[in-house]
């Protein structure tokens, strides 16, 4: 599998060249274009039957259905892009586990398993995604961000607005907590933040998805 990410950082698109018989699993709706000999199979988001998929869709925010693209009779390509303006980062997992914010998953090798993880009750206050997808295995994974993407090495404790977290390594412990005192929590505009502890990488995005959503909400006429 060869992955070429172009048009960084605002409108990134990944061109994935697959060898004969090789596949890639992607978020639904991510396909831009493909070779004729690349077939598409639509399946549930994770192994383990309908219930786990429903859990993944309802709780993880990621679509219930995913697509696996496979090259047949020779190599072929598929181009993938997320919905929102932003970047794509490739992470090569080596028997590792990464937690990915629900909108941050673009694609991965089919060998990487997907599960959901409860973020904690305090997430309910933030209006932001409550769940992370738990991705484990070996092989390439594509993360997508709203805005630019930055990798930070956390050593000790670091605080990140939950809307800006794309992914983090499972070597980090995290707790979701309110921002500052009660006054800051209600009036500071930050709401809920994630406090990371330990050693590991965190991928952050320079724009906040619910932030854009709230801006649109205040500017669009209501639905009838």
């Amino acid at each position: 599998m060869k992955i070429d990410i172009k048009f960084k950082p605002s409108f990134a698109q990944a061109t994935v060249t697959l060898d004969d018989g090789e596949g890639i699993k992607s978020e639904s709706g991510a396909m831009v274009a493909k070779s004729d000999n690349v077939s598409i199979e639509t399946h549930k988001a994770q192994k383990g039957g309908l219930f786990k998929s429903i859990k993944s869709a309802l709780l993880g925010g990621e679509s219930f259905w995913m697509n696996t693209f496979t090259a047949n009779n020779g190599s072929g390509e598929v181009k993938l892009a997320p919905t929102l303006p932003g970047d794509i980062a490739q992470v090569d997992l080596a028997n590792q586990t990464l937690f990915v914010q629900s909108t941050g998953f673009l694609a991965s090798t089919p060998a990487i398993e997907m599960d959901t993880k409860f973020q904690g009750l305090k997430g309910f206050f933030s209006g932001e995604s409550l769940f992370f997808l738990k991705l484990s295995g070996t092989g390439p994974l594509l993360l997508s961000s709203f805005g630019g993407i930055d990798v930070m090495d956390v050593d000790g404790t670091f605080i990140i607005d939950t809307g800006h977290v794309v992914a983090f390594e499972d070597s980090l412990n995290y707790e979701v907590t309110k921002f500052g005192g009660w006054k800051s929590f209600f009036l500071g505009g930050e709401g809920i933040v994630a406090k990371f502890k330990g050693n590991g990488k965190v991928w952050i995005q320079t724009r906040n998805v619910p932030g854009l959503g709230k801006w649109l909400r205040s500017n669009l006429p209501p639905k009838r």
């Binding site: 831009v32 690349v38 919905t83």
Partner: protein
């Protein structure tokens, strides 16, 4: 660096002199700055103007007549009225842009044709003919609109994308999501079809795709305005009934 073949020069009237333009802000927020010569004319989509010199006049008309404009408006998503900018007396500067975030592509047509998707056209030479083109029955279901836009003739053409633009030279068969097509050359055959089996049609989130075959260039955009609009729609407030 554009060389004009002698045969082309006979057809060309005013395009003997190339339009002096510069596309700024590429690729994220592209705009076209044209340094217009005296008596030079440019036609543009309504609402495309950002700024202009005071000696540039603007004339708004339903180009090609009311029926043809109505067809363009209803079927191809272009504005009913087009604006024609004319530079009077001396030189002038005109800045034009597209409504979406993304790139703008320039292409000089030499007595040829290009097909653009709904809403991609920004501006061009007044010599260019713009018409709606039937996109095939299935495109009705794709949410892209039934019609493409056919631009033909000789002159400078500018079209815009949502996201970056990638040019793909197709040889053989290639499949593009209908929401990611900006334009393509008419040497290509195209067919709207479903992306896989029936399950994929309804559940893949891809819906309908366009199968191109033959030889030619297709311009794709790296973001899909339909997907983005659907996403934005989920954030809208819901009006309470009875209020």
């Amino acid at each position: 660096m554009v060389t004009i073949e002698p045969s082309a020069q006979k057809i060309v009237k005013k395009s003997e002199e190339n339009m002096k333009y510069n596309i700024i802000g590429r690729p994220d927020f592209a705009s076209i700055v044209v340094n217009m010569q005296a008596n030079e004319k440019i036609q543009a989509e309504s609402g495309a103007m950002v700024s202009m010199s005071p000696n540039i006049s603007i004339e708004t008309s339903a180009r090609g007549g009311v029926l043809s404009s109505l067809k363009r408006k209803v079927f191809s998503g272009e504005s009913f009225f087009q604006n024609t900018f004319t530079c009077e007396n001396s030189e002038g500067e005109l800045m034009l842009t597209s409504p979406s975030e993304g790139d703008i592509v320039h292409r000089k047509l030499q007595n040829e044709e290009i097909i653009l998707s709904r809403g991609a056209y920004v501006c061009g030479d007044t010599e260019l003919q713009i018409d709606s083109k039937w996109g095939g029955f299935k495109s009705f279901f794709s949410g892209e609109g039934l019609f493409f836009l056919k631009v033909s003739g000789t002159g400078d053409l500018f079209f815009a994308s949502f996201g970056a633009v990638e040019e793909i030279d197709i040889s053989g068969d290639y499949i593009v999501d209908t929401g990611h097509i900006v334009g393509f050359e008419p040497s290509l055959n195209y067919k709207i079809e479903k992306v896989g089996g029936l399950k994929s049609l309804f559940l893949s989130g891809e819906g309908l795709v366009c199968r191109f075959s033959g030889q030619g260039k297709v311009y794709i955009q790296t973001r899909n305005h339909n997907s983005f609009a659907r996403w934005a729609n989920t954030w809208r407030r819901v009006q309470k009934s009875g209020s």
